[in-house]
């Protein structure tokens, strides 16, 4: 068990633990705060994968914007102070069964796959992920179309959300 494996196991346990808390806590604000802990765990996983840009973007976009949006939304849709009533519907165990089944199926698939025990190749020296990403996102023969379509998607989401949520007729 090398140091790296121990670090990975700790991070994985923390992430999965807080993810489990997200779906099981009664109080929604606590669920949102547990989501922040999960997102931070996933950011550490990206750091372990040497994807530094993804780790920072994860913290900036998810914790900085999406978690705040969730907390605002929970505040806006709060009729009574305490969360009354059961948080899960009656036949929650069907959901639990399906989730466990999907987990077992996926991990069986992964373990069965031949390439899954591959070792992580070392990073070539002077490898600048952000620069490579910049080239990939803008060079015409790579990903310039998804780059522009992403802005159209964001525009559609903004216009749609504003229209749906707060249409002052």
């Amino acid at each position: 068990m090398t140091a790296e494996q121990i670090v990975f196991l700790i991070v994985a346990l923390v992430t999965l633990g807080s993810a489990f808390m997200v779906v099981t806590t009664r109080n929604l604000i606590h669920a949102a705060l547990w989501l922040v802990a999960t997102l931070f765990g996933v950011a550490v996983v990206y750091a372990l994968l040497n994807a530094g840009f993804l780790a920072v973007v994860q913290v900036v976009v998810y914790i900085g914007a999406i978690a705040i949006l969730f907390i605002f939304a929970v505040m806006l849709t709060r009729k009574d102070a305490r969360d009354s009533g059961p948080q899960t519907h009656k036949n929650w165990w069907v959901g639990a069964l399906l989730a466990v089944a999907s987990y077992l199926g996926l991990s069986a698939l992964v373990l069965g796959w031949s390439g899954s025990s591959k070792a992580a190749a070392g990073l070539p020296s002077g490898f600048d992920a952000v620069g490579q990403l910049g080239e990939a996102l803008t060079s015409p023969n790579a990903y310039v179309l998804p780059f522009e379509v992403a802005s159209v998607l964001l525009l559609a989401a903004l216009v749609g959300a504003v229209y749906v949520a707060f249409n002052r007729k």
């Binding site: 372990l48 996102l137 159209v152 903004l158």
Partner: protein, 117 residues
């Protein structure tokens, strides 16, 4: 991996300092709780109603527009890093990207959603 190890050390030490300070304060400070003292502070008058007060919709709109421009900035950072080496076509792509999203801001402005009313 080792640069992120330093960041992790910064986070650990950054937590040790406040935890230590608050811990020392918790040990030293006197503890004489009584119900009056733990009343929430309403400038002295009795608290009225529950503290989960109903909220204005404006908060959601600002967080929403911030989210869209946040993700846009994330897309623009790799573009900005490589702008020196790439030619004029990359600048045009970036400007189209920004203009599409500024159109979103103009729409929200025209719909009157940015007022704090």
């Amino acid at each position: 991996m080792n640069e992120w190890l330093y960041v992790l050390l910064f986070i650990v030490v950054g937590l040790i300092i406040p935890v230590g300070a608050i811990g020392v304060a918790w040990i030293i400070s006197p503890k004489k709780p009584n119900p009056i003292k733990s009343e929430t502070y309403e400038c002295g008058i009795e608290t009225v109603g529950d503290s989960w007060v109903q909220f204005k919709a404006q908060y959601y709109i600002f967080a929403l527009v911030f989210l869209v421009f946040d993700v846009e900035a994330v897309f623009l950072f790799p573009w900005a890093v490589k702008l020196g080496q790439l030619g004029l076509y990359a600048v045009i792509e970036g400007i189209i990207f920004i203009l599409i999203l500024v159109a979103g801001l103009v729409y929200t402005w025209r719909k009157g959603m940015l007022e704090w009313a």
